[in-house]
């Protein structure tokens, strides 16, 4: 085994530069993680994401051969603005650009079984939250992405182009909306709760103010 990789860490800056050489303009930026874990992530350009993924799996010195996790994040415009404000407070040059009007983000966690490294975090950002929500599917590169990309499609509404079988996986066919989005409105079927708190407390107070009996049907 290459002694360079023994301690389980890798240099993401170096990796980004190598990737940039191999696949031109594939890395948009490095999103720095300020917490002690320092799990920085690569923000990839969706246009070149497939080729970048193939390079990461087959040609990169680390050999990212195992995709452990795919998830998604909803970034409404307010959340983006909030993040930019917090980033501005930090003096480092780690603010990464993203669509201003909010976007959806698919997050991939990669490990290298060959070298014992990981995780490498990849992020792919859509152009906005409602119209242009298409991203390239990485299922052709890492087969284990299949179900988890379906889940991200089901709950967030990211359309993965090139996915072999993009259907809902958690909710039923015919379900409307994407329930993990921040602006998802649940059906109003509030029920009496003996110990309401947070949002449920607010809803029960709203009911009281309307002079309603707590509604027990859905």
């Amino acid at each position: 085994m290459d002694t360079e990789f023994i301690n389980g860490s890798f240099d993401i800056q170096k990796l980004a530069e190598e990737l940039e050489v191999a696949v031109a303009s594939s890395v948009l930026s490095i999103a720095r993680n300020q917490s002690p874990s320092s799990q920085h992530s690569l923000v990839l350009n969706p246009e070149h994401a497939i080729r970048a993924a193939q390079w990461l799996r087959d040609q990169s010195p680390e050999r990212w051969d195992f995709l452990s996790n795919v998830t998604a994040v909803d970034w409404p415009a307010e959340a983006v603005a909030q993040r930019q404000k917090e980033m501005a407070k930090l003096s480092q040059d780690d603010a990464y650009s993203s669509p201003e009007g909010g976007y959806l983000e698919a997050v991939y966690h990669l490990y290298s079984i060959t070298r014992g490294l990981g995780p490498l975090v990849l992020r792919l950002q859509t152009q906005d939250r409602n119209q242009q929500t298409t991203l390239p599917s990485l299922t052709p590169v890492w087969r284990s992405a299949e179900f988890q990309e379906r889940e991200a499609f089901d709950l967030y509404g990211i359309r993965f182009e090139g996915h072999p079988d993009l259907r809902r996986i958690m909710m039923w066919d015919g379900f409307e909306g994407h329930p993990m989005r921040k602006d998802y409105v649940e059906p109003d079927d509030y029920e009496y709760e003996p110990t309401p708190h947070d949002e449920v407390l607010k809803r029960s107070q709203d009911r009281m103010n309307q002079g309603d009996q707590p509604k027990v049907t859905s």
Partner: protein, 204 residues
Amino acid sequence: MDEGLKSELQKAGIFTTTLSDLYNWGRSNSLWPLQFGLACCAIEMIATSMSRYDLARFGAEVFRPSPRQADLMIVSGTVTKKMAPQVVRLYKQMPSPKYVIAMGACAISGGPFKQGYNVLKGIDRFIPVDVHIPGCPPRPEALLHAIMTLQRKITQDTLGYDRRKEEEAELVASLPVPEHGPKDLSPSKHDSIWHAAPSRKVRT
């Protein structure tokens, strides 16, 4: 029969009973549960059926993989809205007389997922439940207690034609399996099955 006389006869080694008692004794001690589990409560149900807790002591260890051969449905775990129609369909496929135990917080009310978007707020919205077990998940002792409670309930059954029971069976058979709507099940409950708890004042 006079209880005193029955007791006197028993002392003399003569046991008397009624056909109805005998029938219910047999039925309550040979419950055949439907073999399916929905969530973590199912793990407790499995533990109950294994040697340490030994559900066989109560005659209810013959878990059947087909609804046609089962007379007890233990709803063990979270019933999601996606799963609910299948659970109701299985219930409808069981032959009468049939019984239902709703096991755990999720099965009786939705539990911690009650205010979510994807979990049914209690299986008793669609099928009549005989015994509810609270707990998250309930321990095997709680399930054993529920089985014993159900057995006591069965001993109250009458032999032959029972108008109330027949009407209930007809009602259940006539109700449709709920379908998936755009956000919720349609219907979201059967009004003739589910009786809401009387509404109470919300603490604010």
